[in-house]
Amino acid sequence: MSRKSLLLLIVIIAACCAVPFVFDPEKSYVVYFLFMASIYVTLAQSWNLVAGYTGQVSLGHHAFFGLGAYVVAIMWSRHLIGYLDPIGFILAGVAASMLAVLVGIPLLSKLKGDYFALGTLGLGEIMRLITIQLGAFTGGPMGILLPSSSFGTILPHYFIALFLAVLAIAVTFYMARSHIGLALVSIREDEAAAEASGINVLKFKVLSFAVAAFLAGMSGSVLAYYIFTVEPQGFYGLNWTLYPVLMCVLGGAGTMTGPIIGGLLLTAVFEIARYFLPEIHPIFSGLFIILAIMFLPTGIMGLRPRTMQREKGGVSIGRLLTKRAKGE
């Protein structure tokens, strides 16, 4: 990230912090829009860490997102934590990380490319079914209804979601610029060469997977605290993976700013389509995505002339999958 980009990021964060003081948070949709956009940016940035930087295309983000939400819902409904309890957020992230390590070790050591993607895709479905089967503990298919009487204002949720988005950017920035980032990019570019250079490939892959899961789990807990209904269909929905993937790809995978732009842009497109085209918005959104992927395979960040690109390393996910499948 260049100094100019960093400055712009600071300006945007400052603007986001000011928004609830300009628009009435209880009446204006802008605050809710930015709240949701922050959640998506966090998810997209965390997915970027695994797929964009490490080259492991995971389709199991919704498993971590849903688990994070359920950790908070189960604990809060049993009075083990309180409303907007920091311990709840941390535990949600830790639980998701633990799941990522648990499934990451066998999956990341044995599967590559689209096989890994399919393996992680199954994870979300497994989590959904386990949640339904656990009956009273998780509320079964109906889920857990949380006490909405606790709700006062969207403001704490908004700032927590914004903080998480900033945290996801900061973590990605730190990891990308540290020796960890070098290891991750080298794994993405050539796993065999990375291994031959003495990099513990599995360790770094699991590390990025676990950090991404931590952020996804915390995002799930933030939304759970806001909508007060945690149920398997919604929280383990594939959208929580597909949308962040699309946001990341559209913005520019493997870049710091791509997921932020993609997150804001696609959240806006979806919201506007839902409002103006209530019955055909899935068609519109789908078309938009198809056209965007067709004409912007390296994302919006890839539009910039090469000489102007200060963030190098943007990747096409399609190219990445093909490369992995061929075992290159």
Binding site: M142, F228, Q233, G234, E279
Partner: protein, 407 residues
């Protein structure tokens, strides 16, 4: 290729444009010109069939009241027309809160009308609770709604335990020699399926029916041969099937192909829609379905609403009466409250005796529920014949299904 000096600008532009567009200043009206009613419905996705049916009934009720000039609101000393705003929740309970958020913050709705089914009603009713906006609910089992202790909503539906007793009460009317001997429950693996399946199993015990098989069904599964083989191996000749429309059609088709004849098949959720008959034709005969209402019942305007629906869609509905009646109740409550204030409207709903709706007379209980008996119908010649409540069956008695080749 388009040259962008900085891709950041794209994000910023979108943000600012959206912020300006959705700012309240441009949307708020100075004078009250209409009553804005919002409804978060599943108009796309797997529940869109039911969602769109509910939407149609709401729209009819709005058109009817507006044809009379609207609702007289004492606070404004004039009649105000009703504007219905539908927010699609995409058949995803997780998107219910967002749908309500749009209705409240962008469309500035005064009150909310129900979504469809417990898994969509509960998230949206809870979202309404946050904004302290009255949510006029229906199609949610009261036992589920009561568990959430909501203050800003009410529910108009049948009790789960009473609804679960209906198949057994109907079965008891069949002569003993003709009754099925081995009974099965085939329940969709969803919130409603599980909740209702539990109720059906309990009610079966109470009515001394032994459930020989209790089998979950996957949503959208294209192959039910495993379940059908189990039914055949256990000699099942009667069943209750809880699944969506497409799944019920698939199940009955595969049942016939496998040569399994159930004397009594009582469908819930998926066998009531006219499309069930359209898809199966005479194979749908003798199958029972649930429902909330019939245009044949002697309630004011019921026949007219039913005919309007049949004219538009070429089929009958056993649900639209509930949705239309929900609107009738809300319109009357607004008029009685003399305001669109949520607390006042809810209070009017709770205290008014609503006479002559298309669902008959309606009175809410102190806990915020208004209960009506669930109905049961049997498909005969493309029509749903009322079987239950018995007093509304006009003498029609449930018939046991003959073998497939004699239907």
């Amino acid at each position: 290729m388009v040259k962008l000096r900085d891709a950041w600008l794209v994000g910023l532009f979108v943000l600012v444009a959206l912020a300006c567009f959705f700012s309240p200043a441009g949307l708020q009206a100075a004078e009250k010109k209409e009553i804005v009613i919002g409804t978060p419905l599943p108009v796309t996705g797997v529940a869109s069939q039911e969602g769109n049916e509910e939407k149609w009934a709401y729209e009819e009720a709005v058109a009817d009241i507006n044809a009379k000039g609207g609702i007289f609101v004492k606070q404004y000393n004039k009649k105000l027309p009703v504007k219905l705003v539908v927010a699609d929740m995409e058949s995803d309970p997780g998107k219910g809160a967002g749908a309500v958020e749009r209705l409240v913050k962008i469309d500035k709705v005064d009150l909310l009308l129900s979504s469809f089914a417990a898994n969509f009603v509960m998230p949206t009713a809870i979202a309404a609770e946050k904004f302290k906006i009255y949510y006029h609910g229906n199609t949610c089992f009261p036992v589920v709604w009561r568990g959430a202790h909501l203050k800003w909503s009410t529910v108009f539906f049948f009790e789960l335990d009473k609804g679960a007793e209906i198949p057994y009460e109907v079965l008891d009317t069949i002569p003993a020699a003709e009754r099925p001997k081995n009974f099965a429950l085939l329940m969709e693996d969803t919130a409603d399926g599980r909740a209702f399946g539990g109720g059906l199993a309990e009610a079966g015990k109470a009515h001394k029916w032994e459930i020989a098989l209790n089998e979950p069904l996957g949503v959208g599964a294209k192959d039910y041969s495993a379940q059908i083989l189990k039914l055949k191996s256990k000699g099942i000749d009667g069943a209750i099937l809880f699944a969506s429309g497409g799944d019920c059609v698939t199940f009955v088709r595969q049942m016939k192909e496998a040569g399994l004849n159930l004397k009594y098949l009582h469908g819930y959720k998926g066998t009531w829609n006219g499309d069930f008959w359209k898809a199966l034709g005479k194979d749908a005969s003798y199958v029972l379905c649930d429902g909330f209402w019939s245009e044949d019942w002697p309630y004011p305007k019921g026949k007219e609403i039913g005919e309007r629906y049949s004219k538009k869609f070429g089929k009958r509905s056993v649900a639209i009466g509930l949705y239309y009646a929900s609107c009738q109740i809300l319109w009357e409550a607004i008029e009685k409250a003399g305001s669109v204030d949520s607390a006042k409207v809810k209070d009017a709903v709770m205290t008014t005796n609503f006479k002559g709706t298309v669902m008959g007379d309606v009175k809410y209980n102190p806990d915020g529920t208004a209960i009506f008996p669930c109905a049961a119908f049997q498909w005969q010649d493309g029509l749903q014949k009322t079987v239950y409540p018995f007093e509304r069956s006009a003498g029609y008695k449930v018939k046991v299904a003959p073998p497939w080749d004699k239907r």
